[in-house]
Symmetry: C2
Subunit: 104 residues, 2 copies
DNA sequence: ACAATCATTGGCCGTTTTACCAACCATCCA
DNA sequence: TGGATGGTTGGTAAAACGGCCAATGATTGT
């Protein structure tokens, strides 16, 4: 069904994480679901901006949303983001300290 | 030394991967080092374009370069990218198939 | 029905990204 | 030294991104 090459698909997912606000949101959601209003306070931007960030991540399959009452609650689609961020931190560590990179 | 918040640092690394050509390059480098010319053939863009992609990833600490003779050989700074891409594929799979996401 | 709250969507605009070409730097060999 | 090969850098133009504001749903309570 999806005929895009693998690296394009992968880049699409990665791109949806490639913004400081979105990374912050993902970090926060590892701790459990949050409403858009809560995430807006966290990020410190206009709620419309945060809503668009969430839409991007939803489209990429990174988060899922559930409506309860007046609120939309977002949570991670996948717990494996902890591993994901660990990989990222390895690279960041190499970059910052010149530390050697050991396997997971 | 680095006082930027963690999520900004993380986003910087992720951003350096967030392009189809760069993802393709990383995939290829998991198989071993390549020269700029080889990567240019792979990507199918101008060599100057590929050179700039590599510079972005080098600055982010994702790749390292070694000059031997006339060639610049790039390789991954860290073998953990296999894990990294596996995480990405989990998300991509959820997105594409609606498949459930199991832990690593 | 009306008002209040939570969130999404459209529009505008400044910034960033990306691609190509051209020019330049570096290395090796004749 | 001159030429060929391999790569980087600067310039520029098109496209994508990201932010806020304003307007529009959607849901709940009065």
């Amino acid at each position: 069904m999806n005929q895009r090459p693998r690296h394009v698909i992968r880049a699409g997912v990665i791109k949806a994480l490639a913004h400081p606000s979105r990374t912050l949101i993902v970090e926060t959601l590892t701790d459990g679901e949050r409403s858009v209003g809560e995430l807006t306070s966290l990020v410190g931007a206009d709620i419309s901006t945060v809503s668009k960030h969430l839409a991007i991540m939803k489209k990429a399959g990174i988060v899922v949303v559930e409506k309860r009452g007046l609120n939309q609650y977002y949570r991670l689609a996948c717990p494996c983001f902890l591993d994901f961020l660990r990989c990222v931190d390895f690279i960041a560590g190499v970059n910052a300290d010149g530390a050697s990179c050991r396997a997971a």
